[in-house]
């Protein structure tokens, strides 16, 4: 029941928030913080729980089956912590609506990561699009972005829906996530895997299905994009691990070439594109494309070490990309621009802001001692061990490039001469500092003692 509460609490609190007057900014934040804190506590308390109620018995068996273990636990923890940070950091003008949408997003994504049933997984997969879609729709200037986000992802969602139905009919049950020994074989199996894979590739995203991503990341309010980039983008990779690898191992191996090539293109293309951007959020968006391409390669190398590295790097990427987007959001709110050509020299007056951006950027470029390093190292070792020499060599290039674009980002915003045309604003406030604190602590913790996570994330 604790798991059910975990999914329902954010959804119910989010709905109730709409009953408040729109002007109740502080009250809605307090409620949001309490609710998201409660979810963090629930995730920690409910670790290892399992809850199931029968849903359908025909045409295939399905259940409301929630479970919290392994990768699910870590992603749920990541999600709840990032949501908490996002709600604390949230500065938007329509704050009540944004906090409510953040809670909806948290609830639907908790449902997705906790789902032990494919049908439930598909339900939350579609449902988690709605909060972001409506948030973007509510801003008149971002309607195109909203549609692009929604259509790409909903097309993927429909493929997933069809694949789920076919899976259910073929296998007789969708209550299978996390169970060993479920192998789908037959003439239809590659098509079903194809349906799942399409949804996952769009969501991750992977070249050439990524074109919704830079726009969405740039236009979504900072608090929400932190959650989307940190956690929602992991849904696809999570799907590859718990659905693809678990149920279709043979077909995953047979078609691995396609995914490896797509991953490699994303890896290089994302890094090069990040170098060429002048919009701060877009730099991080393309760096995500690059980093997630690396994880995709790790998954399709079918090597235990690489897979463990992928699990670790999933969490690490979630933390540092959330931190990056939040800090860049603070910068944008202060200076009213995201363009590197207008920004510059903020570091001298805003040392705390500069420090936060520095730690996040260093983690992103894989500095030893911070979260990104251990994952990257394991992934490349694993890929090398699996015999994909070309992939391992390719993976080294973006690591070098990551240093270049992350330092370029940091320098462009914080260093250099002070710009006279930028408004001078106060440094990081206490509230903003508290929002970033758990993320920075997690970056340090994962960088120094990754073992605690590594042993449980993927078995």
């Amino acid at each position: 029941m604790m798991l059910l509460a975990l999914v329902l609490v954010p959804l119910i609190v989010g709905t109730l928030l709409f009953a408040l007057p729109a002007a109740a900014q502080t009250l809605s934040r307090v409620i949001g913080v309490v609710a998201s804190l409660a979810t963090v506590v629930l995730v920690l308390a409910a670790r290892g729980d399992d809850w199931s109620v029968r849903w359908l018995s025909r045409p295939f068996t399905a259940a409301f089956h929630l479970g919290l273990s392994g990768l699910s636990f870590w992603l749920a923890l990541l999600l709840t912590v990032v949501t908490l940070s996002a709600i604390v950091a949230c500065n938007a003008s329509a704050r009540r609506d944004l906090i409510a949408q953040l809670l909806f997003l948290e609830g639907t994504m908790l449902g997705l990561f906790l789902a032990r049933d494919l049908l439930l997984f598909a339900l939350f997969w579609d449902a988690m699009l709605l909060p972001v879609f409506f948030t973007l729709l509510a801003r008149a200037s971002h309607v195109t972005t909203a549609w692009r986000y929604f259509l790409y992802n909903f097309a993927g969602g429909l493929a997933l829906l069809l694949a789920t139905a076919a899976f259910g009919v073929l296998f007789g049950s969708t209550d299978v996530i996390g169970q060993a020994g479920v192998h789908v074989i037959g003439a239809w199996a590659p098509w079903i895997l194809g349906g799942f894979a399409l949804a996952f590739l769009v969501k991750t995203p992977v070249f050439p299905l990524h074109t919704w991503m830079p726009l969405t990341y740039a236009d979504t309010p900072p608090a929400m994009v932190a959650v989307v980039s940190a956690v929602q983008s992991k849904a696809g990779l999570y799907g590859f691990i718990v659905i693809g690898l678990a149920f279709f191992p043979d077909y995953m191996k047979a078609y691995a070439g396609i995914f490896l090539v797509l991953g490699a293109i994303s890896l290089i293309y994302g890094a090069l594109a990040a170098l060429a951007q002048s919009d701060t959020k877009r730099i991080v968006a393309y760096s995500s494309l690059s980093h997630l391409g690396l994880i995709l390669i790790a998954i399709f190398s079918f090597n235990t070490i690489a897979l463990q590295g992928a699990g670790l790097y999933l969490i690490a990427h979630g933390i540092f990309s959330a931190a990056l987007f939040l800090v860049l959001g603070f910068v944008e709110e202060r200076e009213e621009t995201r363009s590197l050509t207008h920004l510059g020299g903020l570091g001298a007056l805003n040392p705390r802001l500069a420090g936060a951006l520095c730690i996040a950027a260093l983690a992103a470029l894989g500095l030893p001692g911070l979260a990104g390093f251990a994952g990257e190292l394991l992934i490349i070792t694993g890929i090398f061990q699996s015999g994909l020499l070309w992939a391992a060599l390719l993976a080294l290039i973006p690591i070098v490039l990551a240093a270049a674009y992350m330092l370029r980002l940091f320098q462009g915003v914080m260093n250099g001469p002070q710009r006279s045309d930028l408004p001078i604003r106060a440094d990081l406030s206490w509230r903003e500092g508290i929002a970033l604190a758990p993320l920075v602590l997690a970056l340090l913790a994962l960088g120094t003692i990754p073992g605690a996570l590594l042993q449980t994330v993927i078995k």
Binding site: F18, W55, L56, R58, P59, F60, F64, L119, A122, L123, F124, D126, A127, L130, F133, F134, L137, A138, A140, V143, A146, W147, F150, L151, F154, A155, L158, A159, L161, L162, T164, A165, A166, G168, V169
Partner: protein, 477 residues
Amino acid sequence: MIANPTTQVDWNGIAPIITIAVTALVVPFADLFARTHAKRWVAILIGGLGTLLAAGLCAQQYGSTGTVFGGAFALGGFTVVFEEIVLLALFGSLLLFATTMQERRVGGSVALMLWSACGALLMAGASNLMTVFLGIELLSLALYCLCGMNDRPASRESALKYLVLSSTASGFMLLGMALLFGASGSVALSSLTLGGLATSSFLWSGSALFFVGLAFKMSLAPFHAWSPDVYEGAPMPVTAFMSVATKAATLAVLARFLYAALPTGMSSAFLLPIWILAGLSMLVGNLGMLAQTDLKRLLAYSGVAQAGYLLVALAGTTALGLRYAIYYLVAYAIMNLGAFSVAAALSDEKEAGSALSAYHALASRRPYLAAMMSLFLLALAGLPPTAGFLGKILLLSTGVATGYWWLAVLLILGTAISLFAYAKIIRAMYARPDGKAQPELPVAPWPAMISIALYGIALVVMTFYPLTPSNIVPFVR
């Protein structure tokens, strides 16, 4: 000499129909003597009570079997389920009279709608061709009049168009029935299964004409062209009733025909044209929605597509498929009634809630109605957490399981297209007010608001507690 007819009469079997018919007589009579400003609510109240009574009587027959009136009307779960859906549509549509239509016309309209429902109830239980035709004509005749009940010219146009086109379709259907009768020598749907008929050209041509008639009533593409015009012109409660009850009743006839009347073993090739119509409807209906500026027209095209979805469940004519068709039909009834209820809550006699422009920035003025409308539209699009989502999963799995994978793919394609149209309305509702003066919105009475909430709750509950009737053998042999 004729046999003593009293031996074949079973009043109990058609008690719901009798109840509705008697209510239909009481309503205009009460309307005559009600005070001027009570006419609206008197008619709705009497009509609603009669409907509830009929629903109660109907539910009692769930377990019964056999036929009454010499095989003209079948009893049993199948009939009961479809009758209840018709009664649900009737009750929901009656509530819409609370805000729309001029007070002096409400009494007559309610009475006509009750008669129309009688026809639909007959169709739900019709087990021979004559009852089918009687039901269809009773349903349609009352609807022709109802369509013209508004003062707008479009309403007259709608009535005339419906009359002319629908009569033509009835003519086709009647010729088809005659040919079927010629082929089998019997009007009973069950005797069409007699062996040796598979090669009869009369059976083929008769069935084809019969299907054309049914496809018209169900507004399947390419026989759908009448529905946007008629839906747009007809008064809102009538449109709501037509969109649900006609589809439900026609589906009952079609399902009975498909499941019970056809020779086994010949079904796949024989029925292929129907599945092609279904596929075509999904595309045409969803594409047609994109350019609409009127909610009723949009829902007309949506209805074309949804009729196509419904048929996917019947492809392969499995018992399970029929259950899912019923599940989806109930879901469709609720979401459609919900959408129309919101439109009616924003309307007065002039039906301002029918134009899509009325929904601009609705969220800032009527947040509750905007939220519920979004839910209904999401349900129509098949998104969670609504019964539309689970319904689509069930339809898809039936399509895949019976080998009609191409219908499943078309369903997915159609859904993708439809999303543009539904989300366009949602987007308009959540747009910022553009500063232009908006017409004053009427305040809907509380029964309307409560019914909207109930529709919403039902849609969500149905997702997580899917209940499909098991006692639905379509035909009692």
